[in-house]
């Protein structure tokens, strides 16, 4: 027998029925395809955000303030968000650390991007993006965050755009709860992202700021830390910067036997070196095959007995398109390189693409 049915579920099933009715009218599209036209940020839709402000920080860095859609679940300072940005009409996904206060009253979030030479997305975001642009979002993720119990003494070691996740932590008031030292490197004073804000904070005694201007003073060596921050090995440390710096820091902390106190964040994905061919793994069938750099993935897969979808075998029909889960492939026609990191699922035409490194293909 039933007890009283909660009102909520009745409402929910009414909504479901309404949705199903709407689907019978919108087929083959979904009601959301129409709703996206008028309310791209609504709850329940794919997660997106609208850029509401682009604020220059330094000559080559800018902060983007984003109004996320209603489905945004918030973030913890230090985490990052994946942005899907259309550059030259092509959707590109990149990760950016959140620099805004967590749980801001207006619900807005911010990321701060540094344009790197020849960087496709970073230059687009810093120099060509206008307020009003809609971007695709993922929920915040990442474990470069403070533990629940705030440590008494904290060291931040950052360089260049590596300041971004740390800024998120500072803005959320870390310095009021802990003794904070920040050692930050940038080419010159004018290149320090958030320079004014950091110096003001230091001026008020909120933290001890050590700025290193590498154009004049050279790169910071880890051995210098003994002088700059004598108690650094006892501090809970978060480091974010270029690959070389992070490698050196990890080695240093390990050699001091305090590796567990070090937390690092890397901005560069694992380098996929485009070589001559590579190992192909078909993730669903589990088949693996060594392919050379001249053999189309379609042929390589078929030779290994994988049931590959195919059609014209000359690059015009798209009957062979499969998601590249991760790896690198070279377009045999243009020599262009397409790379994918986990989560991208870039779609490639297997009949005209050859492996240029280890590849995971979804099939």
């Amino acid at each position: 027998m039933t007890t009283t049915v909660p009102r909520r579920s009745q409402k929910a099933s009414f909504r479901d029925r309404l949705l199903r009715l709407a689907e019978t009218v919108t087929t083959p599209l979904l009601p959301e395809d129409y709703l996206d036209l008028v309310a791209p940020l609504r709850a329940g839709g794919a997660l997106r955000g609208r850029i509401v402000e682009v604020r220059p920080e330094t000559p080559d860095a800018a902060t983007l303030v984003i109004q996320p859609g209603r489905g945004w679940r918030g973030h913890t300072p230090g985490q990052y968000v994946r942005l899907g940005v259309d550059v030259d009409g092509v959707r590109q996904w990149r990760a950016y650390s959140l620099t805004s206060v967590a749980g801001a009253a207006d619900g807005r979030i911010a990321v701060t991007v540094k344009a790197i030479p020849d960087g496709k997305v970073s230059n687009h975001l810093v120099r060509r993006t206008r307020p009003g642009t809609i971007v695709q979002l993922d929920q915040a993720q990442g474990d470069f965050v403070l533990p629940e119990a705030t440590p008494a003494r904290v060291l931040f070691l950052t360089a260049g755009s590596g300041i971004t996740p740390v800024m998120g932590m500072l803005r959320t008031g870390l310095h009021t709860r802990a003794d904070v030292v920040l050692v930050h490197s940038a080419p010159a004073a004018g290149d320090v992202i958030f320079g004014l804000e950091l110096r003001a904070l230091a001026g008020q005694g909120g933290l001890r700021l050590v700025e290193r201007h590498t154009d004049t003073d050279g790169l910071l060596g880890v051995h210098e830390l003994d002088d700059l921050v004598p108690d650094h090995a006892e501090r809970e440390t978060w480091a974010c910067g270029p690959v070389g710096m992070l490698d050196a820091v990890e080695e240093h902390w390990t050699s001091r036997g305090v590796a567990e106190r070090l937390h690092t964040e890397r901005f560069r994905p694992t380098v996929i070196s485009p070589g001559e061919g590579g190992t192909l793994t078909f993730t669903r069938s589990g088949a693996t095959v060594e392919a050379d750099g001249a053999t189309p993935i379609l042929d390589a897969g078929e030779n290994a007995g994988v049931l590959m979808p195919s059609g014209c075998r000359m690059g015009i029909c798209y009957g062979c398109v499969l998601p590249l889960r991760q790896g690198a492939v070279r377009d045999l026609r243009t020599g262009d390189l397409t790379t994918a990191v986990p989560g991208d699922g870039v779609l490639i035409q297997t009949c005209v693409s050859a492996a240029a490194g280890t590849c995971d293909i979804e099939l």
């Binding site: 009715l21 019978t24 009218v25 087929t27 083959p28 599209l29 395809d33 129409y34 036209l37 259309d86 030259d88 009409g89 092509v90 959707r91 590109q92 059609g311 014209c312 000359m314 690059g315 015009i316 029909c317 798209y318 009957g319 398109v321 243009t334 870039v346 779609l347």
Partner: protein, 379 residues
Amino acid sequence: MTVIQKKAVNPVAHLSAEDIEIIGKELDAIRDRVIADRGERDATYIRKVIKTQRTLEISSRAVLLFSLFPPAWFVGTAGLAVAKILENMEIGHNILHGQYDFMRDPKIHSTTWEWDHVSPADQWKHSHNQLHHTYTNVVGKDNDLGYGIMRVDEDQKWHPMHLGQPLWNLLNACFFEYGIAAYDLELGRNLQKGRRKAPEFRARARAVGRKIRRQVLKDYIVHPLLSGPSFLSTLAATFTANLIRNLWSHSVIMCGHFPNGVETFEKTSIEGETRGEWYLRQMLGSANISGSKLMHIMTGNLSFQIEHHLFPDLPSSRYQEIAPQVRALFDRYGLKYTTGPLPKQVASAWWKVIRLSLPNRHTAQPGPAAPALVASQPA
């Protein structure tokens, strides 16, 4: 290998094998230039067309809720017909070709798109993209040639059944989407005994059944029911809109490969075909339609059938831009660029259907006695 023509006058007899490969290289260069420039403009364009189409469709359907009033019926029906045509031609056909796959937008991608048509997208992609575009106008291999039920080339053997083909063609035009679903299923072949029960065919037939159910439920049940007292008039409106869409797309598609001047090819002629020869077959096997910008959009730019067949995966709005370059290439190599206004091309295609419903007049004449061109001979 060679492109073999059975016509008395061989349109490529003057080309050497090297000429054909150079034509191929020049076409590759045109393609490369478009690809290098492809980007934001194309993405903006298709998104705009999609937005326009969706707005038009939903507002036309809203107007049709009051279709009891004749002005509402006319406006709504016209709007819905245009929306359906846009959806099938400029949007569906072209997205399913992978023309916008470069955008990497999962919402506008050949592998995820489904269209307002009774043939499920994946089945249509197989029969259209892979069979028709690869075997364009190869008698016996390209189902688009007469859809397996008509005689559209002198070389096809005449059968008394063909006497009825003007009527079949008219019926096919009225219910074109069902005709397409049937030949995507290769019904003619698959209904034969022994094939009917093949699990692969049955699964595909079920998928078509599901798609038909959804389409019918939408157009002929739910939408009319939502119109309340306007039930019957909305039913008539959606039927009319589908009819208009069918007649229109049938006409456009007939114009692509049937009119006079378009060549057909023998099965053996494509064995070992080079890229240049493949291009040449596309050049000679297609015909364009001349007209206004609006007409081009309403045909999904299939009015640039020649350019589309050369480069099926380039964004459709680019065909118009490259057409002068392509035409210049035809002229330079003395090839016939078949084009004409819509009424003329439709009439020419229909005339062929009617003419070939009767046996060839000079049965002995066109046969393979003059076996034809041979592209590999130096001119």
